[in-house]
């Protein structure tokens, strides 16, 4: 066997391996079973332990970003400024906005338990003073804007939010992203004038500025 043909063989093998890797990733992305909105109701009959992992797993984002890690490294103060605890549904090949999430209707900005934002000190959002404390956050999406609401009815499930307990409403514009976000993502980050809470899913990004 000549050296050239041996390399040709290796080359073909590597291409095949590359394709396999690509297919594997494709499967991973589209073959997942996803329950975006598991209806409340059957949970009481489920065994208490051991329990499976949620299909829309929970996550947490702090400001300063990665506060617990910074704190561990001795690079952060005692108290964070803000924290959001939310669950992360997945796009799973669907059109999210205007379809899975309907325009003009309350959307829980997540999945499962209602999304919870905590401010560890008072902040200002769109010239409104928001006292320190814990709020449920939800949103009414439109094609060109989101109305983000902070509500005082805590420890609830995201599907039923008591709008009579809305404390604040903020209208923010939405932007299109170049690439779709598979997972709904919320992230506090630094901005020119303070902080922003960035929210991304599918091809939509909305940013709530906070001072």
């Amino acid at each position: 066997m000549s050296i050239a043909s041996r390399y040709k063989k290796i080359w073909v093998l590597l291409c095949a391996a590359g394709l396999l890797v690509a297919c594997g990733q494709q499967n991973d992305r589209n073959g997942n079973k996803v329950t975006v909105n598991p209806p409340p109701g059957t949970s009481a009959e489920q065994p208490a332990l051991p329990v499976g992992v949620d299909k829309s797993p929970m996550d947490m984002s702090y400001y300063p970003e990665n506060f617990p890690v910074l704190k561990m490294q001795g690079k952060a103060g005692q108290q964070p400024v803000a924290r959001v605890v939310y669950s992360r549904p997945q796009k799973h090949g669907r059109t999210v906005f205007g379809n899975l999430v309907e325009y003009g209707k309350p959307w829980r900005l997540g999945a499962n338990e209602a999304t919870e934002i905590e401010f560890f000190r008072k902040v200002t959002i769109q010239q409104k003073k928001v006292p320190a404390g814990r709020y449920v956050a939800y949103c009414i999406p439109y094609p060109d804007k989101w109305i983000v609401k902070l509500n005082s009815d805590l420890y609830t499930w995201g599907l039923k939010i008591d709008s009579t307990r809305d404390q604040f409403a903020f209208e923010i514009p939405v932007a299109k992203t170049i690439y779709p976000y598979e997972y709904f993502t919320m992230q506090f980050q630094s901005a020119e004038a303070g902080i922003e809470l960035a929210m991304m899913w599918d091809s939509v990004k909305a940013v709530l500025p906070i001072q």
């Binding site: 080359w11 590597l14 291409c15 409340p40 929970m58 338990e113 499930w157």
Partner: protein, 187 residues
């Protein structure tokens, strides 16, 4: 030819298709979860089925066994353990209570354990919003109490915590691998 093979190898190995240009924020390997007492409080609330007040909540991350032996190996005996993964495990008590008979004020705490075969020392610490147990400072302990653990026949793949009703109060049941522990609370 050698160079071409090297380049192809590099491309096939290191550049995932279509993701090279931008970063998708990944899901955590040990996903976070939340457990309330009363169990499923948020669901009961939207169903108007609440019969008991909200007493406690734990927010924790869920590592997986993945074929490893957990206690005595992955989680070492006698060492501080974060009872979870990633962000430190947070327990919030909405009323003053007793934990294993000892008084504890309502509030938000970080929960740790020091496991031993058959016994865990459970620790409530006031340093919150922390990561793992790397910063653990015993001076910030609010309460330490020992509880017995039991062996389970079934193996729990995923580290799990859930509040359940007990004869005279509430247990925070913790399971992973073949070990089960319960922290008793009285509110």
């Amino acid at each position: 030819m050698k160079r071409l093979a090297a380049i192809v190898f590099f491309l096939a190995t290191f550049i995932p298709p279509s993701e090279a240009q931008f970063k998708i924020p990944a899901l955590d390997k040990s996903p976070m979860d939340m457990s309330y007492y009363p169990a499923e409080y948020p669901v009961l609330k939207v169903q108007n089925k609440i019969s008991e007040p909200l007493l406690a909540r734990v927010v924790y991350s869920r590592p997986q066994k993945n074929g490893r032996r957990v206690f005595g190996e992955l989680v070492e005996y006698g060492q501080i353990w974060r009872l979870g993964a990633n962000e430190a495990t947070e327990i919030e008590l909405y009323r003053d209570c007793r934990v294993n008979g000892e008084k504890l004020k309502k509030g938000r705490y970080t929960l740790y354990a020091i496991p031993q075969p058959g016994t865990w020392t459970i620790i409530f610490n006031k340093e919150t919003d922390s990561w793992g147990a790397f910063l653990y400072d015993p001076k910030k302990d609010v309460l330490r109490t020992d509880i017995k653990t039991e062996k389970m026949e079934e193996v729990a793949e995923v580290f799990s915590m859930a509040f359940t009703k007990s004869d005279d109060g509430v247990n925070l049941v913790i399971v992973w691998d073949d070990v089960k522990a319960a922290i008793p609370f009285n509110f």
